[in-house]
Amino acid sequence: MTIALIDYGAGNLASVRKAFAAIGAPLTDVACPADLGRAGGIVIPGVGHFDATAPLQTGWKEAIARRAAESAAILGICLGMQWLFEGSEESSVVSGLGWFRGRCLRLTGDVKVPHVGWNSLNDISPRSRLLTGITGGASMYFTHAYAAPATPAAAARTTHGTTFVSVVERGRVFGTQGHPEKSGGTGLRLLSNFAALARERSC
């Protein structure tokens, strides 16, 4: 069983690799959609401007959808989570995967934006499998200026000026706005949960 890390040229992936290695689930870098193979899990990373997801337009959408249809577990991190939605008001040219409805919005309110630092997960859905063992008030490390819109698939919410969806989950598709690879014990637990889900149906 492998968990694939999609390497589409977006920033620094070393920390994600190191965190998965630390929980005993080393990632396999995949730089070409055809190489997704039979990965039981797929991690979609991402940092920076929504336009940085442009390389995911070419071949990745179809390849990821094919693996998801075959029950692979999918995890979008930060911009990778936002990409699971239809798009973002940050970009008028690049669209997202559209598995979750709505467009990501810029954070507003009488607070500093970007939102950088440790903040808490609230309203954790008791049915969430990604957040098994993580209780409300647990902190994750965030660094972003845009965030997912309200969705029935919300598994946790976080407040910075406004309240936004910080974890999303539907079936075997998961997204986390905070960085689990940089969120201490809470983040490692989340990644362990994902790795276990990825193993579940990968025979």
Binding site: G11, A14, S15, K18, A19, W118, G184
Partner: protein, 256 residues
């Protein structure tokens, strides 16, 4: 609610922590990976590794150090000290740094900020500003404080943000090493001038200094090195002190 961050700085030379060494009774004292892990267990929110030599040989040693620290530390890790090019920054990211801190090189070539941000994202770029009061104004200093720049610290912070910096690491050279408290006026002036987080540095000596810089100084984060000595429980005690006075702090499990 977004919490304020406490950041431990490890000054490293040739792979060994040279300042702010604590736990000297433990095996591996001076080992940055062991120290970082210990700070993490105590509840530190972020770690900065600062290469105080920044020589060519030092660079390879620094990458090895970063790799070792990052393999065991799953909270944000920033690395600085003589970062002069995008390739140098890239080597540090590949080793496991989440952010690089640029100082003198950005003063000489401000476009470097934009280049690193375009490739790795603004969240990965800290612009370090060393400032000192001269004739009633905050002046920027480069090259570890040895060369005066004509720039005004507040104007330079604004420019750094416009060029793509994700955070400002602001050191008061007047306070650095004095343990007399952070320069809250400087910190508040810069924090009010930019939208990105400002990390205050220089002058921490006791818990009330952190309270001051988070309130009067409007700092988003505070950095210190050796000062985390001040009590047996160091960081956990400091967090409890600040939380008890209304500063939002990340709750962490007590070290075991």
């Amino acid at each position: 609610m977004l919490t304020r961050r406490l950041i431990a700085c490890l000054d490293v030379r040739g792979g060994t922590v040279v300042k702010g060494v604590r736990f000297s009774n433990l095996a591996g004292a001076g080992d940055p990976a062991a120290l970082a892990a210990r700070y993490d267990a105590e509840g530190i929110d972020e770690v900065v590794v600062l290469d105080v030599t920044a020589t060519l040989e030092g660079r390879a040693a620094l990458r090895r150090t970063v790799d070792r620290v990052a393999s065991e530390l799953f909270i944000p890790l920033a690395v600085g000290g003589g970062v002069r090019s995008i390739d140098h920054a890239g080597g540090l990211f590949d080793a496991g740094a989440d952010k690089v801190s640029v100082n003198s090189a950005a003063l000489g070539e401000p476009a470097l900020i934009t280049r690193i941000a375009a490739r790795y994202g603004s969240q990965a770029v800290i612009v370090a500003i060393d400032a000192r009061v001269i004739d009633g104004r905050y002046r920027v200093f480069g090259r570890s404080g040895t060369s005066a720049d004509t720039r005004d610290a507040i104007a330079w912070a604004r420019e750094a943000e416009a060029r793509g910096a994700g955070e400002i690491l602001l050191t008061s050279m007047d306070r650095d090493g004095t343990r007399a408290g952070f320069d809250c006026e400087l910190t508040a002036a810069v924090s009010g001038a930019v939208h990105i987080p400002v990390i205050a540095s220089g002058g921490a000596g006791q818990p009330s200094h952190f309270l001051d810089v988070f309130t009067r100084g409007r700092a988003d984060a505070a950095l210190a090195a050796s000062v985390f000595h001040f009590s047996e429980h160091g960081i956990a005690d400091l967090k409890a002190y600040l939380a008890g006075r209304g500063i939002p702090m990340r709750a962490t499990a007590p070290p075991c």
